[in-house]
């Protein structure tokens, strides 16, 4: 039955357009578009030099209530995370994505910190993940699912910490797509995350932490030499 519904719907579309299936020259514009995925208009705001992209990313992320800390190397991340936890009276326990890059973080520098790796489970309060890219245009993070980056970490815990190298910050979304495409087929889930969870459903009052994280903290890492 589903098969025939398919043909009837496609047939109805063609009948409304008074034509048959698109093939040959008629299909060319769509085929070319799919193949070359041309970019459209990209706002001037995001067509800027890399250093300015980082500044814009920080500005835009903070404008949507994300917090940003900027550190020198991965070796500085444990202190930054510990400070964040202490500043919000959070327990010193984090669930970290099993991401090879994040494994290089010397968590032992802060021995009190309880570090576990894996996907998020119900009691996890703080997660730490990486990101494919940061999009300066709107302070947006791009995260891609995979064995080393489970998606639950992005949504279940109340606090989401993202460790992002500044070299991964791009101007527009299109640059982030290119980086992702370079990795191969799209993963199961790609999340564009812009600030913490929010809702305006009651009297249009914006309230953070509707279902996803109440806090989104971004640790920007400027240099590429780990400890």
């Amino acid at each position: 039955m589903a098969r025939s519904a398919r043909d009837q719907i496609l047939g109805a579309i063609r009948a409304s357009h008074k034509r048959g299936p698109l093939d040959g020259d008629a299909a060319e514009p769509a085929r070319v578009r799919l193949e070359t995925h041309p970019r459209g208009l990209i706002p001037a705001r995001s067509r800027i030099a890399p250093a300015e992209q980082v500044a814009l990313f920080v500005e835009m992320a903070q404008a949507v209530a994300a917090t940003v800390d900027r550190v020198d190397t991965l070796a500085d991340v444990p202190d930054s995370v510990a400070d964040f936890l202490a500043g919000h009276n959070l327990p010193a326990a984090i669930k970290v994505a099993p991401d090879p890059d994040l494994r290089r973080i010397p968590w032992a520098k802060r021995p009190v910190l309880e570090v576990a790796a894996g996907k998020a489970e119900d009691p996890d309060i703080v997660s730490v993940t990486g990101a494919v890219a940061g999009v300066a245009e709107t302070g947006t993070l791009m995260l891609a699912s995979g064995p080393d980056s489970p998606t639950t970490l992005n949504f279940l815990p109340d606090n989401h910490i993202v460790v992002l190298r500044t070299t991964r910050i791009v101007g527009p979304y299109e640059d982030a797509w290119d980086r992702l495409r370079a990795r191969g087929d799209l993963p199961r889930t790609v999340n564009l995350i812009t600030g913490p969870s929010r809702t305006g459903d009651i009297e249009q009052v914006i309230q953070l932490g509707a279902h996803g994280p109440r806090r989104l903290h971004i640790v920007l890492v400027d240099r590429d030499d780990a400890a």
């Binding site: 208009l41 996907k119 797509w177 199961r188 790609v190 279902h211």
Partner: protein, 475 residues
């Protein structure tokens, strides 16, 4: 769902008298209009992006069959399954079948207008499943047994007091003496209650803002993150989407995303935009094991090639209703079907029939504010006019209105008669009301004088006075 669009006049009469409704709707100006204006002002390219959005969707609609086939192929390649539904009933049955095969009890749902269109919750409940809406606004109205009154803010017709009443009545397992002082109290309670539901759900159903032909991805845009928990925690993810939601590429989706949040809530970008492609991959630690996409036609293919085709560009941002003075006066429920406001007035007659929905395109002053904010440049008044034409041909307005109109048109085509008739009528009206300058009541004009005075005419028609003056000047 069952429509009450035919009863718009009665629905509207009740709605304009509803003070609680208007208190709730009064938040729209600051909440939506001002924020949109401020955000749009920050992006100089916004108008050009609107042109681009229009062009992308026009291209899609012209090549819709090709893109849908390509989308289907990519979903299948990614390990998912596409189902095609001609009607709401077919879509319901497909979803029911998937839930049954999954052995589901609890079904969580992200906000989906298509799910509302096919009245999915009622159907699932009737078949022994427990559907749970997870968007805060949708959850509230599900508890109240209501329909969404707005496509992006389903509970916009409610005030805090209404929500408190509902939560106290429904969340009986929570302490009766808990306090609801402010918005966070509601949000936190809903978060806590729904967190448990997310954990126990067997199937998660979301809608889709876009389907991407290039990659076979479905895209949802939310601020709460509920749509993500809905799709990554259960074993099965079902996407219900209408056929016109397909776009060619990630770049095209991105181009339209630049318009969506700005137009909808006045955000630069929504908190969560999620691209879902097939089920979880080998080695993934989480994500659904099965991925289904139900593509719904339900009358859309028949709109292609007609003057109403352009409604299919809609990206469901809600800007038209956020700026519509008729919507502000009556709220969403008065429209009587799933999609209210100007886009509903332009779309609903196409989906549920002009006989049922003819009031919706007629209940507009053609003020054009909707079109002026529509990110996809849908000519909403023009499409409403198209439906009015159909309604007129089908003689759907009242016989007295038609008689009045026909008589007027007959006279308006006969200038001599028109001049004499108008001179006499206006002379009489002026004689009756001129001293006071206005009428408090007038026979045959109750619709006007029930609510406002009718200013009296000056006395002569202009053309009469003009002729007199010319004569006087000549003399």
């Amino acid at each position: 769902m069952k429509s009450t669009a035919h009863a718009f006049v009665e629905n509207a009469r009740e709605a304009v008298a509803d003070r609680r409704l208007h208190k709730a709707l009064s938040n729209m100006k600051a909440g939506f209009q001002n924020k949109r204006a401020a955000t749009v002002a920050k992006l100089p390219e916004f108008e050009a992006l609107r042109d681009q959005g229009r062009d992308i969707k026009n291209h899609v609609l012209a090549n819709l069959d090709l893109y849908l086939e390509r989308f289907e192929r990519r979903v299948t390649q990614a390990g998912g399954q596409v189902h095609w539904a001609r009607t709401a009933a077919e879509a319901r049955e497909i979803v029911e079948g998937i839930c049954r095969d999954a052995g589901a009890k609890t079904v969580t749902k992200g906000k989906s207008m298509v799910a509302e269109e096919i009245a999915l919750n009622d159907h699932l409940e009737a078949n022994g499943f427990t559907p749970i809406e997870t968007d805060l606004g949708e959850y509230i109205i599900q508890l109240r047994g209501e329909l969404p009154s707005h496509i992006i803010a389903p509970a916009i017709h409610l005030n805090k007091e209404d929500v408190e009443e509902t939560f106290r009545k429904e969340h009986t397992h929570l302490p009766a003496d808990r306090r609801f002082d402010d918005v966070p109290d509601f949000t936190n309670e809903a978060r806590m209650v729904l967190r448990q539901k997310f954990q126990t759900a067997d199937v998660g159903i979301t809608g889709a803002n876009y389907l991407i032909a290039e990659t076979g991805s479905t895209v949802i845009v939310t601020n709460e993150g509920n749509g993500d928990l809905t799709q990554i925690l259960p074993k099965t993810h079902i996407v219900v989407a209408s056929i016109e939601k397909v776009v060619p590429t990630l770049e095209d989706a991105t181009a339209i995303l630049r318009l969506l949040a700005r137009s909808a809530t006045g955000q630069e970008f929504s908190a969560y935009t999620t691209f879902s492609t097939g089920p979880r991959r080998p080695g993934d630690l989480d994500g659904p094991e099965a991925f289904h996409v139900v593509l719904l036609d339900n009358g859309r293919s028949a709109l292609l090639g007609t003057p109403a085709q352009e409604v299919l560009r809609c990206i469901r941002c809600g800007a038209c209703m956020n700026h519509c003075p008729v919507y502000a006066a009556v709220g969403g429920h008065a429209y009587g079907w799933v999609v209210p406001g100007p886009i509903g007035a332009a779309l609903d007659p196409g989906l549920i029939g002009v006989e049922e929905a003819h009031h919706l395109p007629n209940a507009s002053t053609f003020c054009g504010r909707c079109e002026s904010v529509c990110p996809m440049r849908i000519p909403l008044p023009k499409i409403m006019h198209h439906w009015r034409t159909q309604a007129f041909e089908k003689k759907l307005s009242s016989p007295s209105f038609r008689l009045g109109l026909k008589t007027w048109a007959w006279v308006a085509k006969r200038p001599g008669l028109y001049a004499v008739g108008s001179r006499l009528a206006i002379g009489l009206l002026a004689a009756l009301g001129g001293r006071r300058g206005r009428f408090a009541t007038l026979p045959l004009a109750r619709g006007w004088t029930d609510h406002r005075d009718m200013p009296a005419p000056e006395g002569k028609t202009f053309r009469q006075a003009w002729a007199d003056r010319r004569k006087h000047e000549a003399a």
